[in-house]
Symmetry: C2
Subunit: 208 residues, 2 copies
């Protein structure tokens, strides 16, 4: 499934397009866009935990089956609605697989590589800016981070949530200092250099 | 010297006050307030590094000696202008003194204790929000953090700046997750519990 800003256009008429109303086609671009807009309203109002596919369908005025047709899961809708660069449910299992004594390094490298792409990074930054500025959005983001990201890793690795939260805080802080405050030499450091510094920290939180 | 929001009033007529124009008194409250307002404009425009006491005095339309009379240093003006809870130049030496093998714990406890007070925390959060939202403010904040906070610690402890930056990122991330996203159980954890988790991380960055 296509992701991010580009994906919103992927169901639209191709180049050399003839504009036509998509009346008979439930798969048309603006239906999908309307579902995502409805999802953003529902997530903002109810938070991530209390939002349901049924509630999003109702808000969009479509059948729940159509929402399921476009988006497999609530996680998937949230990821698309916020234009996040990846669905944790899809990406995390691969990162968490492999030797446990190297999971710190794999997590650090995954996060640094993902965020080194400005197109992947920007929606994540936008979400964090929103969390800082709006109490309402903060609930939705906290619940998504807790359920879809940290909860998943804590369960897979059997680590106490608080250890995962300070590990997440370490990586979040590094991304902020590297790309928002742009502290030097951190902002210019290579991924390898940062992995060498940070992987032992994350591994220690995992090992407990 | 008084600090924070309350301090702006400290030069004002005392309780039971008779309002009078402060014409002959260069120490009057609104002169001080005008200097701080001028300082905010100068810092925002020029950043922390290029701002000078002379430039702030010129912007405020007062003699540089008067700026020196109110504020000993450029760090001090910045701290007052941004209503920060403490001047790093004053607070850090005490935190950094003592056995080097315990400096991780002292730094973690200092930061967690300081930020546990909402009145101390809020201006710091406001500054970080500003840094995230405004490119211009970001320069001023980066330079202050680099020069007045991290540079001072790196010099005192003789650690490579990048190690201090990831340590700072760890603590910044924890404060964000504890007080902005309010991840549980991190948000409700005691300072002692967090010191036990985080002090070894910071100590490892210090030890190199």
């Amino acid at each position: 499934m296509a992701r991010g800003p580009a994906s919103a256009a992927s169901g639209a008429p191709a180049a050399g397009e003839k504009r036509r109303r998509p009346g008979r086609r439930p798969g048309a671009a603006d239906t999908r866009g309307e579902i995502l807009a409805a999802a953003r309203r529902v997530f903002a109002e109810k938070g991530f935990d209390k939002a349901t596919i049924r509630g999003i369908a109702r808000e969009a005025g479509v059948d729940p089956a159509l929402v399921h047709h476009y988006f497999d899961t609530k996680d998937g809708i949230f990821v698309q609605a916020m234009q996040l660069p990846m669905d944790p449910a899809v990406a995390l299992p691969a990162v968490l697989a492999g030797p446990r004594e190297e999971v710190g390094e794999r997590l650090v490298r995954f996060i640094l590589t993902l965020t080194s792409d400005p197109q992947a990074r920007e929606p994540v930054m936008a979400l964090m800016r929103t969390a800082m500025a709006h109490e309402q959005a903060e609930v939705m983001i906290r619940e998504f981070v807790t359920r879809a990201v940290l909860g998943r890793v804590a369960e897979a690795l059997k680590i106490p949530p608080i250890r995962l939260e300070v590990a997440f805080a370490q990586m979040f802080g590094v991304i902020m200092m590297r790309y928002i405050l742009k502290l030097e030499p951190l902002a210019s450091a290579s991924i390898d250099e940062l992995v060498a510094l940070l992987a032992p920290t994350i591994q220690r939180y995992v090992d407990g």
